[in-house]
């Protein structure tokens, strides 16, 4: 413990436009996850402002923030974070359940998601019975089932081998093609390089912020 204050993030000024595909890269501990969590309203900055859809959200109540997470944001994690005792279908259903969606609607939307991510055969399997790629597909299905406007993915391929990771990235990019804003945190320069906008971080600061018109 030094007497010098350590900032996970410091002096960040960032604007992301709806429909962008952004990658955030940087060494371990540079503040990538912290930034992503603040964007996703999971974490609060000690100071500063954050506007989402032109609305200041930093001062919203906990319940209002939860509602925004539920309706506008979809998280995808490195370690999938599936509930082990629930089946694939039940895991996908969770956000709908929290949103108070009616059982018939839930059934329909879970079915659609299972079909969209080719998980129909695995609907009643528990996470332990699924491969890593399948698990991440369930997690992505769960993140999209509420049709959020932003998908936040923190090292979505970190626990997958190269081939499967590439497939997962294709799924996420597909969502982007359908209009969803996609923000991906990754170590992988190659994966990060596919984004239209690449943000490089170091020591809690944004070092680079480049646009590539690759497509």
């Amino acid at each position: 413990m030094g007497d010098q204050a350590v900032y996970a993030l410091n002096n960040i000024n960032l604007q992301i436009t709806s429909g962008e595909y952004v990658s955030i890269m940087g060494p371990s501990g540079s503040g990538k996850s912290t930034l992503l969590n603040i964007i996703g309203l999971l974490d609060k900055p000690d100071s500063g402002r954050y506007e989402l859809d032109e609305k200041l959200v930093t001062d919203l109540s906990e319940t209002e923030q939860a509602q925004i997470r539920r309706e506008k944001i979809g998280f995808v994690f490195q370690s999938f974070h599936l509930v082990p005792r629930l089946t694939a279908a039940e895991n996908i259903e969770l956000p709908l359940l929290l949103g108070g969606v009616s059982p018939e609607q839930r059934q329909r939307r879970v079915n659609d998601a299972l079909n969209a991510f080719e998980l129909k055969q695995r609907a009643n399997h528990r996470p332990a019975e699924l491969s890593g790629g399948q698990r991440q597909r369930v997690a992505i299905a769960r993140a999209t089932v509420m049709q959020p406007s932003v998908i936040l993915a923190d090292e979505p391929t970190g626990n997958l081998d190269h081939q499967i990771g590439a497939e997962v990235m294709l799924l996420l990019e597909n969502l982007h093609h359908q209009g969803t804003t996609l923000i991906v945190v990754t170590h992988d320069r190659e994966l990060g390089g596919r984004a239209h906008r690449q943000i490089g971080m170091r020591d809690g600061k944004i070092l680079t912020d480049q646009f590539h018109d690759t497509h």
Binding site: N37, G40, L42, D43, E62, T63, A66, Q67, R69, R70, E71, G74, F75, F77, S79, H81, V83, R85, L94, P95, L97, L98, G99, G100, R142, A143, M146
Partner: protein, 400 residues
């Protein structure tokens, strides 16, 4: 998250942790079951004793010599006064009171009964014909001092004594010897068994005159009085005391005990006992509550990552809290209902094993046991649930 979804989701969670849930449910069920069975036993014992006590008579008052209550007795003792005896004349006087349906003077002693080459000591009651109905006894055969036979040397035998002395022949009409006198057996009592420690099967009853002569006394041991109705009991008591005071030169030197007052006392004592037993059993419910708290705390720790995930996908603290409370509610509810059924089963087994014991759990005890189980279950999960609700999402997600 809707209430139905919360209850349904938490029910599924409870079902998926099978062993853990089973243990809590069992602990809850044993607690509730213990309360139900023990109160059933307590209340059964209460009803048993009250039934027994009621069976010795209806609207019964017992007059006995001496002042058993507080005022005056000390002074009387200091001044060397001895209480006046109760006499047959007193008894006749009381019999004429308007509130009194019938009365029976009573003397008790022991004497040797011999007949048919047998000899044994028996308890002898000296009384009149009305003793039989007042004391709720019944004659299996014959009669006792029926119309106008008051001064005959008649004897009624207890069922067991009749059986012992005249196993093969009819007891009625036989001559027996009691002490130095000879009696004609005129009646045999029906078997009643033991009530309140007194076995009417092993007594004999003779006319009061003969008993007083035999025991060489002019006083009475008790006067039994049956009031005309339940509402006449208290007036009868006052009238008896007043009338005896008058005939005893203004002295309050008798005591009247009413069956009602004794019943009430018994009732109160046994009710308290039942309550105490229920309280002791309820301690096991508190233990079950602590178990619920412990298990829920462990659950929160085990499911930290899951809680973080739920928050990330939009659960509010309230949602998380309600999910955990609902889990505890299910565990307590199922435990309480199972315990109630176990308790009813236990009470049934007690009733089968001891048919004379009406072991029915009182409704208040069953309701209270279930309510306490639910309450402790919910209370115990309050802390774990709010611990879960307060978890920081980012920290929680990084666990595992």
């Amino acid at each position: 998250m809707t209430l139905t979804d919360t209850l349904h989701t938490s029910f599924k969670t409870v079902m998926s942790y099978r062993i853990r849930s089973l243990l809590i449910v069992l602990a809850m069920a044993l607690g509730v079951g213990a309360v139900v069975v023990l109160t059933a036993l307590g209340d059964g014992a209460r009803n048993y004793i009250i039934n027994q006590f009621s069976s010795i008579g209806t609207n019964l008052l017992v007059v006995l010599p001496g002042r058993a209550e507080t005022s005056g007795s000390f002074l009387g003792a200091v001044l060397g006064q001895t209480p006046r005896d109760l006499t047959l004349k007193d008894a006749q006087l009381l019999g004429r009171l308007p509130q009194v349906r019938r009365y029976a003077p009573l003397n008790v002693g022991a004497a040797e009964l011999s007949a048919a080459n047998r000899l044994r000591e028996v308890t002898v009651l000296g009384s009149t014909a009305d003793l039989i109905p007042i004391r709720h006894m019944q004659l299996a055969q014959g009669n006792f001092l029926a119309q106008g036979g008051e001064h005959n040397a008649q004897i009624a035998l207890g069922a067991k004594i009749a059986q012992e002395f005249f196993p093969r022949s009819q007891a009625i009409g036989q001559r027996v010897r009691l002490g130095d006198s000879r009696f004609l057996v005129s009646g045999v009592l029906s078997s009643q068994g033991e009530t309140m420690g007194f076995n009417t099967d092993e007594i004999v009853i003779i006319p009061i005159d003969y008993a007083q002569a035999m025991f060489n006394t002019t006083s009475l041991f008790r006067i039994l009085i049956e009031a005309k109705s339940h509402s006449d009991i208290e007036p009868a008591k006052q009238a008896i005391l007043a009338s005896l005071r008058q005939s005893h030169d203004g002295e309050d030197d008798t005591t009247v005990i009413t069956q009602d007052a004794i019943l009430e006392t018994f009732d109160r004592i046994l009710q308290t006992l039942t309550l105490a037993v229920a309280g002791i059993a309820a301690i096991s419910l508190i233990v079950a509550g602590i178990l619920v708290m412990n298990v829920m705390l462990v659950a929160v720790t085990q499911r930290t990552a899951e809680i973080g995930l739920l928050k990330a996908i939009g659960a509010t603290s309230g949602d998380i809290r309600r999910l955990f409370l609902a889990e505890a509610l299910w565990l307590s509810l199922v435990g309480a209902v199972l315990g109630f059924l176990l308790g009813q089963l236990g009470s049934l087994l007690v009733r089968i094993a001891y048919p004379q014991l009406p072991a029915w759990a009182p409704v208040w005890a069953s309701i209270a046991a279930i309510a306490v189980a639910l309450f402790t279950g919910m209370l115990a999960s309050m802390l774990p649930a709010s611990k879960a609700a307060r978890l920081d999402a980012v920290v929680a997600l990084s666990k595992k």
